[in-house]
Symmetry: C5
Subunit: 89 residues, 5 copies
């Protein structure tokens, strides 16, 4: 899984109707405690994450599994809010 | 999901017949509000997107799910047109 | 999907027998009209592509779907020959 | 598969309940014997790995298969602890 | 598919038992005839490849298909030994 920080929201009125009701969050991908990637990713929230939360993101076909309905065309889902991450640098 | 801007069209007469009827758009992958990747990607349109639209793209096996027929060999589908994206820089 | 230019052929006598009968093409991944990646990829041809053709390539599990037999261990298949690609630079 | 070194732990109280009971390890992706990537990844432990262990990681849908229950939204699982890796540089 | 050169072996006594009996080879990913990536990958051998062989590697869910048993948590399998690769530079 990858880690990131929630930095914003994305709205899309015209969308695949299978995406209705989902919340899309803008996430800055985090490389480590000191660095972020320049690339933003859009992840569906499945844990009630908010702005500035550090989150755990599952990608690919495994992301769909988090949503409990396999027929949703998403490939990145926030599956956890990080409380603490300790590591040797 | 990734974000991008629709910049053009792609035509392919000789193709896998399972792709017949699909519209292929040329998309510039967007890293954030200020930067684009040099790499173009080709995505199938599923929301009526047009040139200059900023779009949400689902990749991999999840892309097929958007098309409502699993037997299509595509790995990038436009699943939404972005109205607004707000984020803390 | 990604785009590339067919630049050569690859032969492998000793291979997984589920790959028998497939044609492996060497493809230079194209970033845009003016730039190619240094990385070569090997894709199975499903449209009769030849050297110098610009092609559309589907990757991952979706690549298998193009071949009409799911039991083939391939992850990149040429699904179309590009006639024209128009885009705003 | 990719290789990495276990460098820490990650805790997430609020998470997809399908992740309950799993242990999340912080892993530094290893490029070769002399170099690591700056990017940390989070992998679920399936072999009893500990800090400083060099490990083998399976990604994507194959990661779920390691856990013996397909309904878990994970995309990186530690499937082995490396005893030795010999290679010609 | 990607191409690489077999450069070594990897041993892991403590591993997911579904990996028992598989041979793990250390592979240097090849970008083209003149360049290699710095990143080593670990692939399961399915064709009897040996040190210095140039090989064809299938990744992701398609890699499992090569092994004829879908319940194996691997994402990179050597599916062919390259005899010859001719291409226009």
């Amino acid at each position: 899984m990858i880690i990131g920080k929630v930095v914003g929201n994305l709205w899309a009125t015209r969308k695949d109707e299978k995406l209705n009701g989902l919340k899309f969050l803008v996430v800055k991908k985090q490389l480590n405690k000191h660095a972020y990637s320049d690339e933003l990713i859009i992840a569906v929230d499945n844990v009630g994450a908010g702005i500035e939360d550090e989150v755990l993101i599952t990608t690919g076909s495994s992301a769909r599994i988090s949503l409990n309905r396999q027929e949703v065309p998403v490939d990145m889902v926030i599956v956890g809010i990080i409380d603490k991450m300790d590591y040797i640098e």
